[in-house]
């Protein structure tokens, strides 16, 4: 499949050269790439899910290594892996159901089923884990059957085929692939519409005559604020400019264009203004499993200021930004240092960097980090496309989207490159 390989290489190149900006775009492109990768990947007759998982892992590892800072890539790779597992599991349970075996069997049954020729070890393990796993809080609260929490494909006409043990293996392979691709399409759809889903909740959070503060620019925040405005809420927005890239200026422009009363302030004026603010609403780069947020630089300061004045600090994040890793994991690269030229004019300071004189080392160092880490205790509320959550609930939410097996994408099957 030279075609896919070149697609992968192209995407790798773009990631390496930092040409794709923004986690939503990255997430979407990653999902699309994996979709075409899976659709063109030949699966063997036996252990299809395992083979597919290995293949995705190999690609996934490359993708993650290409730009370790952009955690959305890893998130999507893990989501896809999870989808494959879930699909395989649902097919397996269907098959098992057809044989009259109970899915909710104990461990001994698992051992027995290991010898079953039609079922992969991975599928069995997944099935076991899935059955042992407690139902998610949401499903409990909403009183939905557990099976529905598993992505929808399980219901997609599996009954007719799955009833018989003598399922044609190749057709089952096609079925798995088909289901997986369906589910990935669903995922791409989710990523594309996450802004709207988050924005729908805007009216519940923004009230009349409130003052909202935000820093930098985030598409999610923009949509959120505009949605509230469209619902005839009248409020004011303070925009901290977000040095050194000053994306706050762009946000202010957009907000004014949509008819919102906007005030631009410097980042350093945030503390002075925070007492007048009713709520801080910001976007995030990634949300870690502990509820900590990797966010544009300067946000930790804003969060601390908000805490000091007991102003709610609300983080908007699409589900593709939920990262199953903890910030203390060694493979998590929390930050990226960008070019100092965003801070200083090279020409003006060129004489400070004349390595030809003195000891040969420059006395001037410029550090331009991209991100801040906001600890979970400073975040009052997360708003994702599934609703509002407390930071202590994030690990639960993440368990819905990812399998524990996939946390480290570098699998034993993966060849190092």
């Amino acid at each position: 499949m030279p075609d896919v390989q070149s697609l992968v290489n192209d995407f790798l190149n773009q990631l390496k050269k930092r040409k794709i900006e923004g986690s939503q775009a990255t997430a979407k492109q990653t999902a699309e790439l994996l979709r075409s990768f899976i659709s063109q990947h030949r699966v063997p007759y036996t252990n299809q899910a395992g083979a597919l998982i290995d293949a995705v892992r190999t690609v996934g590892e490359q993708l993650i290594a290409a730009n370790p800072v952009e955690v959305a890539v890893g998130n999507i790779v893990r989501r896809v892996l999870h989808i494959i597992r879930e699909e395989d599991l649902s097919l397996a349970t269907d098959a098992i159901a057809g044989m009259g075996l109970s899915a909710a069997s104990d461990d001994e049954d698992d051992v027995e089923r290991d010898d079953h020729p039609g079922l992969s070890a991975v599928a069995v393990a997944a099935a076991a884990r899935s059955t042992l796993r407690p139902p998610s809080l949401q499903t409990l609260l909403e009183d939905v059957p557990d099976s529905a929490a598993i992505p929808q494909a399980s219901s997609s006409g599996g009954d007719s085929e799955g009833k018989s043990r003598s399922v044609d293996k190749s057709s089952r392979g096609r079925k798995l692939k088909h289901d997986v691709i369906e589910a990935i399409n669903e995922l791409i759809q989710d990523i594309a519409t996450c802004h709207e889903q988050i924005a729908e909740q805007a009216v519940e959070h923004i009230h009349q005559n409130e003052v909202i503060l935000t820093l930098g620019s985030s598409r999610t925040v923009l949509e959120f604020l505009c949605a509230a405005k469209e619902k005839k809420r009248s409020f004011r927005v303070f925009v901290a400019e977000g040095a050194p890239r000053y994306q706050g200026h762009l946000l202010a422009k957009e907000l004014v264009a949509r008819g919102l009363q906007t005030t631009v302030i410097t980042d350093s004026a945030v503390f002075a203004m925070i007492s007048r603010v009713n709520m801080v609403i910001v976007g995030a780069h990634a949300v870690m499993a502990n509820g900590g947020v990797i966010a544009p630089v300067g946000l930790n300061m804003v969060a601390l200021a908000a805490q000091r004045h007991a102003v709610p600090f609300v983080v908007l994040a699409g589900s593709h930004k939920l990262c199953p890793l903890y910030p203390h994991n060694p493979e998590v690269l929390l930050n990226e240092l960008r070019s100092p030229s965003e801070l200083l004019d090279f020409g003006e300071f060129s004489d400070c960097m004349d390595y030809g004189s003195g000891s040969g080392s420059s006395l001037l160092h410029v550090i331009n980090p991209t991100f801040d880490y906001v600890p979970p205790k400073l975040v009052s509320l997360f708003i994702t496309d599934t609703g509002g959550h407390n930071s202590s609930y994030m690990y639960r939410l993440i368990a819905d989207y990812y399998s524990a097996d996939d946390l480290v994408v570098k699998g034993r099957h993966v060849t190092r490159c």
Partner: protein
């Protein structure tokens, strides 16, 4: 390589072709200089590692990200190594970038390279001209757009040069990249480049601009703090210009200056200044150091070590700008300072200190080693107790225990430094012997003389050299040392300027002192901006000198004419005619003629043999009797007559002192002969009355005569009454 297709017709001028041509680039993988010797004898400059990545990768990565679709890499010296490297690399399989190589063995300059590319007929539109040692992260979009818009309006806008602000070092007059100070004159409204000078007259601190620049352009900005990035956006005409002017060699020295001076064709060069992005060229060891540090300080983002723009080496950026690749074994007691890069698989021993340095892959560094500001390439072994400060250490070098490399040292490939040997500052050590023949003609690396030989004989040469040196160089590089220490070809005075080591303090001190002296001189000279008074005076003197020379010439001519007339017995009228024409051609007054003729007559009289003052007087009378008419024809007014008297006085003082005692006699003779009127004598006396005492000598001598004249005139008047 194939024969150049000379007959191929140029098609780029077709209008439909201009509509959509892929953006092309010419990458010169040869700098045509010898500044990186001795390293470049064994490996081409573009493959030298810059922060552990061969330089050409920076250039190619930039071209790729800037949207260039087709690159022609021109390889000359060590072309085989470059081509081998590229064939193994990932650059030939890029989806958006076509890379093709053009090989040449006999090009000696950038000019030759471009002429060859022109013959190949591969460039069809605007192209980017860059050398393979340029690091940049600029976006080409705007510069390209500006270039194209200018081209639409004016077909003569052939080139856009990229410049960047960077202040030069005021004391030693060089940029932070170790190149000479650059002076640019730019038209601020159009960004047209009007003047380009790299080597300003340092001794005077002056820049000479053509006056016509100020006449033709309403405003000019003169820049001293700009750095030439050596990234040019060129129109296809540039190639044909190189072909037309077959003597153009250097891109800047010949081509740019040539176009700026040449106002017949009217080609124009423009500049594009970049502000937030970075661009610089590794031109010498100093810029190697500077650009490396700029990369480590991330000015070139995203072309920084921890972003994998090239290859698959994973490097992590840790605290304080410390870059570490994987699989490094580092002793717990080793200290690694900030802004240091350590490559894959390197081992670092106990108590070793590494500061501000770049260490390549698979190096072994022993215990108690001190490395500061140095560049250590791959597979280097540095044993216990070595010290390196501001040195470049190439692949495969071995430093035996206790060896020391002083600042500015270059250790070329596979050299070994003996135990406890101290390599003196700025010395260059190579396995190859220094080539004896040095082209005195500029710093061009003539391929046929040096590079071609070394590239082919390379390997065998190395072996021989190592064998020879093992026996010989025990004394030269200490126990177990291998290699030759090169004589510095740049001249010892200047080596510190372009070396990797920072400029020693005493040199800066000297430079400051020198500058202060210059300042003092300038102060005594007066205002610096206006022409100095002495210059003005010089000018005046010049004018006078000119006049003097002219008069002298005129007098000589007149004398010659007169002598000829005397010897050939030419008629007086003819002599007058001739002198008249001389007078016209030299633009002289009648008085000058009178003076000159008088001078000739008296001189002639003097030349006639005479025994005493009396006979001399007789001679004069004789000559005057014969040639009186010639003289009198010019003595129409008082001024001329006074001029004659003054002339005579001058002669008596200087050229013909024999006449001094006869002064009065001859004057009275001339009065008798009606050559000079008495009024002239009187006004001469009047004029002289105010003069110095010394000048009055002859007036006193003529006192009696004048007294007599006065009385005579009074008598006359009385008579009339």
């Amino acid at each position: 390589m194939g024969a150049p297709k000379k007959n191929a017709a140029r098609v780029s001028e077709d209008p439909e072709e201009l509509a959509r041509v892929p953006l092309q680039a010419i990458l010169l993988a040869d700098s045509f200089t010898t500044k990186f010797r001795p390293i470049t004898l064994e490996r081409p400059k573009v493959l030298l590692p810059l922060v552990n990545v061969p330089m050409i990768n920076y250039t190619l990565a930039w071209l790729e990200s800037a949207g260039v679709e087709e690159v022609f890499i021109f390889c000359c010296s060590h072309s085989k190594q470059v081509i081998d490297y590229l064939e193994k690399s990932e650059w030939l399989s890029q989806p958006n970038l076509t890379v093709s190589m053009i090989e040449s063995h006999n090009s000696v300059s950038a000019g030759d390279a471009l002429r060859l590319i022109y013959e190949r007929n591969v460039i069809h539109g605007d192209f980017v001209l860059i050398s393979g040692d340029t690091v940049s992260n600029m976006s080409l979009t705007q510069a390209l757009q500006e270039h194209k818009e200018r081209r639409k309006k004016d077909n003569n806008a052939v080139m856009t040069m990229v410049i960047k602000r960077s202040k030069p070092n005021p004391t030693i007059h060089q940029s932070r990249l170790g190149t000479d100070e650059l002076f640019l004159a730019i038209d601020p409204s159009t960004n047209q480049l009007l003047y380009y000078e790299e080597k300003a007259d340092r001794s005077k601190g002056t820049v000479h601009l053509d006056k016509s620049l100020l006449v033709d352009n309403p405003s000019i900005t003169l820049h001293h703090d700009k750095q030439d990035c050596y990234i040019d956006i060129c129109s296809p005409e540039v190639l044909s210009l190189f072909t037309d002017n077959f003597d153009y060699q250097h891109l800047r020295r010949h081509f740019v200056k040539g176009l700026l001076v040449d106002d017949i064709m009217g080609y124009k060069i423009f500049v594009h200044e970049i502000h937030s992005s970075y661009a610089a060229r590794v031109d010498n060891f100093r810029s190697y150091d500077t650009v490396s540090k700029d990369i480590i300080h991330r000015w070139t983002y995203p072309l920084v070590p921890d972003v994998k723009f090239f290859g698959n080496s994973a490097i992590k950026l840790e605290r304080q700008g410390m870059y570490r690749a994987s699989e490094i074994s580092q002793s717990r007691s080793a200290v690694i300072g900030p802004f240091t890069v350590i490559g894959f698989g390197t081992k670092i021993g106990d108590n070793t200190k590494v500061l501000n340095s770049v260490i390549g892959e698979r190096c072994t560094i022993g215990s108690n080693v001190h490395i500061e500001g140095s560049y250590i390439w791959d597979n280097v072994t540095i044993e216990d107790g070595c010290k390196l400060r501001h040195a470049i250490v190439c692949d495969g070098v071995t430093m035996k225990p206790g060896a020391v490399a002083e600042p500015g040292v270059i250790l070329s490939f596979k050299v070994a430094i003996g135990q406890d040997f101290i390599v003196p500052p700025y010395s260059q050590v190579s396995l190859l012997q220094q080539p004896v023949e040095e082209d005195s003609d500029e710093e061009l690396e003539y391929a046929d003389s040096a590079t071609a030989i070394t590239s082919t004989v390379d390997n065998s040469h190395v072996e021989i050299a190592s064998k020879v040196s093992e026996t010989q160089s025990v004394s030269e590089l200490g126990m177990g040392g291998v290699g030759y220490v090169w004589e510095n070809c740049e001249g010892h005075e200047e080596e510190w300027k372009h070396s990797v080591a920072p400029i020693p303090e005493n040199k800066i001190f000297e430079a400051i002192k020198l500058m202060e002296e210059e300042d003092d001189l300038e102060k005594t000279d007066g205002d610096h901006i206006l022409p100095r008074p002495e210059d003005l005076k010089d000018d005046l003197d010049d004018d006078e000198d000119d006049d003097n020379a002219d008069s002298l010439y005129f007098e000589k001519e007149v004398e010659a004419t007169f002598l000829r007339a005397v010897h050939e017995n030419i008629q007086e009228d003819h002599v007058i005619l001739e002198i008249n024409s001389l007078r016209l051609s030299y633009n002289k007054e009648a008085a000058d003629c009178a003076g000159a003729i008088f001078y000739s007559i008296v001189k002639y009289a003097l030349d006639i043999p005479h025994s005493s003052a009396d006979s001399l007087c007789k001679n004069v009378q004789g000559v005057f009797a014969k040639w009186k008419k010639v003289l009198t024809s010019y003595l129409t007014g008082m001024d001329e007559q006074i001029e004659v008297i003054l002339k005579f006085e001058e002669m008596c003082l200087e050229s013909a002192k024999e006449f001094a005692p006869l002064f009065t006699t001859i004057l009275s003779y001339m009065y008798d002969q009606d050559i000079i009127q008495e009024d002239a004598f009187l006004s001469w006396e009047d004029e002289k009355r105010e003069a110095d005492e010394s000048d009055k000598n002859f007036v006193k001598q003529a006192e009696k005569f004048i007294q007599w004249l006065k009385e005579a005139s009074e008598e006359d008047e009385e008579d009339e009454e």
